[in-house]
């Protein structure tokens, strides 16, 4: 393809957009709205995943110590646990600190602790594991290892909660993935069909171009360029609308966070690809027939 021709074809795609203002506008709006729905889905998923990883992040293992244990032994244990491969951080919590924390936890009902004569709570280590070891089986292994230490009363890590949490999360992931597949497929389908209808509406032009000696490349180039442009514009609009929605939503759920710039950029890039690929496949079928 000569430079003249390429320049002509690029100009041509802009001219086509201008000529078919109405159809182009309709198809960009359809695309933006569909992409907005996709983007809402992605943002919700993104936040959910972040929440989950944060919950994992905050997971702690409690090692309860017998009251009889010597301070020097406790310090030795502290060092030993800290040097273990799996461990990220260890905090020692004395009996008094434990009681204070418990009082806080009870909140309004803390007054019933006033009835206590002695402090029934044990001292403990609060251990944060490295991410790589936050697996149910690895935690269990670690727990039994630490539990074997002399003078350790009990190791707790919310086994029940952990199991329940991971079931719920698995459920969420399944449902989310299912909806995700539906939404993503719908998006691709709706976009490529919007593009296809615009190809169909220019069927006669395409036939005539073929009759006057245009190669397939000559015919497809402006369409692909147009598709990419439409995809880019539509995804940009969708992102902008999503950001607006986010600004409203964040007032009620301050924990929400928006896409990172990289993710937003990747989204737009992907839509440019979907747009041009949509044009291309719609045309290919068409040019063969």
């Amino acid at each position: 393809m000569s430079v003249h021709q390429l320049l002509y074809l690029i100009k041509e795609s802009f001219r086509t957009i201008k000529r078919h203002k109405g159809v182009t506008a309709i198809s960009i709006i359809i695309m933006s709205l569909t992409l907005l729905i996709l983007a809402v889905f992605l943002l919700v998923t993104d936040n959910m995943l972040m929440f989950m990883s944060q919950a994992r992040e905050e997971m702690r293992i409690y090692v309860y110590l017998e009251d009889s244990l010597d301070r020097s032994v406790i310090e030795d244990y502290h060092r030993r646990i800290l040097s273990m491969l799996e461990v990220e951080q260890v905090v020692f919590i004395s009996k008094e600190e434990a009681l204070l924390e418990f009082r806080e936890e009870l909140g309004e009902e803390s007054d019933l602790l006033d009835a206590l004569d002695t402090n029934p709570l044990p001292a403990s280590f609060r251990i944060a594991l490295k991410s790589a070891y936050k697996d149910k089986n690895k935690i269990e292994l670690f727990a039994s290892k630490v539990g074997g230490l002399e003078g350790v009363e009990e190791v707790r890590y919310g086994k029940d909660f952990l199991e329940k949490f991971s079931t719920i999360m698995k459920g969420f992931l399944y449902v989310d993935a299912f909806i995700g597949i539906v939404v993503i497929l719908s998006t691709i389908f709706i976009i490529s069909n919007a593009v296809r209808l615009s190809v169909v509406s220019r069927k006669r032009s395409i036939e005539i171009l073929k009759l006057v000696g245009a190669t397939n490349r000559f015919i497809t180039t402006p369409f692909i360029f147009e598709g990419a442009l439409q995809g880019g514009i539509a995804s940009f609009i969708a992102m902008a609308m999503l950001f607006f929605i986010f600004l409203v939503g964040v007032k009620f759920l301050p924990e929400l966070s928006f896409f990172s710039p990289e993710k937003a950029f990747a989204f737009i890039l992907l839509c440019v690809l979907i747009g041009s690929a949509g044009s291309f496949t719609a045309l290919r079928r068409f040019l063969r027939a």
């Binding site: 393809m1 000569s2 003249h4 021709q5 002509y8 086509t16 000529r19 078919h20 006669r204 032009s205 036939e207 005539i208 171009l209 073929k210 009759l211 006057v212 000696g213 245009a214 190669t215 397939n216 000559f218």
Partner: protein, 255 residues
């Protein structure tokens, strides 16, 4: 001999369903020849032309256009055939969303011609068909005859080796018809072979040339007007044609 013919049609048969549109048609058009194709409505004229520019393919037999052979052609190469053939379609086939200038220019755009070359030639040809003042109008704003002239301009702007004209003057008044005819003859004398389907018998007689008469998909007659002549002897035909044309041009008989 093969080299001298730019169009060769051999035992050509085309069926639609179980209806024959063309039946064992044989026709050769020499380099630079001018041939009228006449015959009643539904005779198969447009079908024959469609097979030559390879929009459709034969049910049986073979079509050769330039160096392209219907039985062996690579479909990806067909655009290059189309660039060597100018076609004036019976239903014009103009691009509805582009103006007159672009409708003519497109035939050159596809070849990758330079913009200023295109501009020069398109303006020249639009002036010749009397539509320079309509160059920025969309086809739907043109009268029937104006649309037809745009179609003609597009077909000849490339100075193709072969020109297929399907009823190119059906919407034109006698004056413009004569002008267009003269234009086609000029292009023909520049070396382009012309095959023109028409119902306008007075035209055919006025500009007597080789006439191929098609009826019910069969070639009924292939002869020269006013001259008995052996149709298989292309050479004498040429000479005679040229002489007639020259005479017409010099005596200005056409006006």
């Amino acid at each position: 001999m093969e080299e001298r013919n730019v169009i060769g049609v051999y035992h050509l048969t085309k069926k639609y369903g179980d209806q024959y549109a063309l039946k064992d048609v044989n026709l050769q058009v020499g380099n630079g020849e001018f041939v009228f194709l006449v015959g009643p409505s539904g005779a198969g004229k447009s079908t024959l032309l469609r097979l030559i520019y390879m929009d459709e393919f034969p049910t049986d037999g073979q079509v050769v256009a330039g160096s392209f052979v219907s039985t062996t052609v690579d479909r990806k190469k067909i655009p290059y055939l189309r660039r060597k053939i100018g076609v004036i379609f019976q239903d014009f086939k103009l691009l509805e969303d582009r103006d007159v200038f672009e409708n003519v220019a497109i035939a050159m755009r596809v070849t990758g011609e330079k913009s200023y070359e295109i501009k020069k030639l398109v303006i020249h040809i639009l002036t010749q068909v009397g539509l320079y003042h309509k160059r920025n109008d969309l086809p739907r704003k043109l009268s029937g005859g104006e649309q037809q002239r745009v179609a003609i301009a597009r077909a000849i702007v490339n100075r193709p080796a072969i020109l297929l004209a399907d009823e190119p003057t059906g919407n034109l008044d006698p004056d413009v018809t004569e002008e267009i005819l003269r234009l086609l003859f000029r292009i023909n004398s520049g070396g382009t072979a012309v095959l023109m389907a028409t119902h306008n018998l007075s035209l055919v007689e006025n500009f007597g040339q080789r006439i191929v008469h098609l009826k019910d998909g069969i070639i009924h007659e292939d002869r020269l007007t006013g001259l008995g002549g052996n149709p298989s002897d292309k050479l004498s035909e040429y000479r005679w044609n040229r002489k007639r044309l020259d005479k017409q041009e010099t005596t200005g008989e056409l006006r």
